[in-house]
Symmetry: C2
Subunit: 156 residues, 2 copies
DNA sequence: TTTATAGTTCTTATAATTGAGAACTAAAAA
DNA sequence: TTTTTAGTTCTCAATTATAAGAACTATAAA
């Protein structure tokens, strides 16, 4: 019956906080909580019903959110022999790709800003110069990311 | 009567695209369009009614969005002697601060992840190691931003 | 002093998100 | 073959976000 997992008050608070952070990054409340639960939970692999009951969600919200998070590559699942259940877990090991994705979002706007710059009147000199600088910095930033990773790897 | 400013189809399309980008970053449609208009418009300083009529917004949506963008530091205004109107303009010159703000959002989660790490069981070794790495990279990244700006400045 | 201007604020109306609950489905177990 | 399990999908209700429109306000102009 009760698949609810036991969490300390501290853990519940951290799930809430991390969940809100995920919401700000564009996830729905339910998806954010599930992603957060799979980061905070001492048990790394949780079944559908453990997630559902721990977070008090409906089956539909749980199913839809799990599938969204899987399609985003944020979580995956494993099965255990003799058990039909799937056990979901965070793909935190993929953090480099996740990070790269979020950098891509910052830098991809550079192309759009360039299109804007191209059709601006030459007369708005100071403005255009600032726009040019933003674009230039974004591209420089993008270019430097690999070496940033390399330098971090070394410093580890 | 008509304070609507003239825009090419291309400019309208760019406002739409940049507006959607701003929406994805958390602004409402109206705020996103206003910020985009003040980036694309060949006329840099636009009055309340020029913004309103060009984007076909209600007075309330225009007023609330303008005030939100001002409180965020995304736009400001000037007045011209003998004219009561305020003329709003993009604060694109502040792009370094804007960029820093968006970096802060990425790196601020490090403290939360650290709190999560601290209370995790030692048994989930691999997971904890990954979490540790994310935190370490985020902090390294934050630390490197100033020198990234410096190097970019030089390369300019 | 009255009127016009430049917005602001308040009260809805509409639309979009979100998730609940029930009905359904496919595969495995009995 | 029937039943149970592990989810999925559909429909709908509730909440939330968004902005329209009207009423209001403060300042300046006439």
């Amino acid at each position: 019956m009760s698949d609810q997992i036991t969490l300390t008050e501290k853990q519940k608070k951290l799930i809430e906080q991390l969940g809100i952070y995920h919401e700000k990054s564009g996830l729905s409340p339910a998806s954010g909580r599930i992603k957060a639960l799979l980061t905070v939970s001492p048990v790394l692999e949780l079944s559908f019903d453990q997630i559902r009951e721990t977070l008090q969600l409906s089956k539909s919200a749980t199913s839809n959110s799990i599938n969204l998070l899987m399609s985003m590559g944020a979580i995956d699942y494993i099965t255990h022999p003799g058990d039909r259940k799937r056990f979901f877990r965070s793909k935190i090991g993929n953090w480099r790709d996740t990070m790269k994705q979020s950098f891509r979002n910052i830098t991809n706007v550079a192309d759009l800003l360039e299109e804007i710059l191209i059709q601006r009147p030459n007369e708005t000199e100071e403005f255009n110069k600032n726009l040019e600088e933003v674009i230039s910095f974004m591209r420089y930033f993008k270019k430097e990311i690999p070496s940033l990773y390399k330098k971090w790897d070394k410093s580890e």
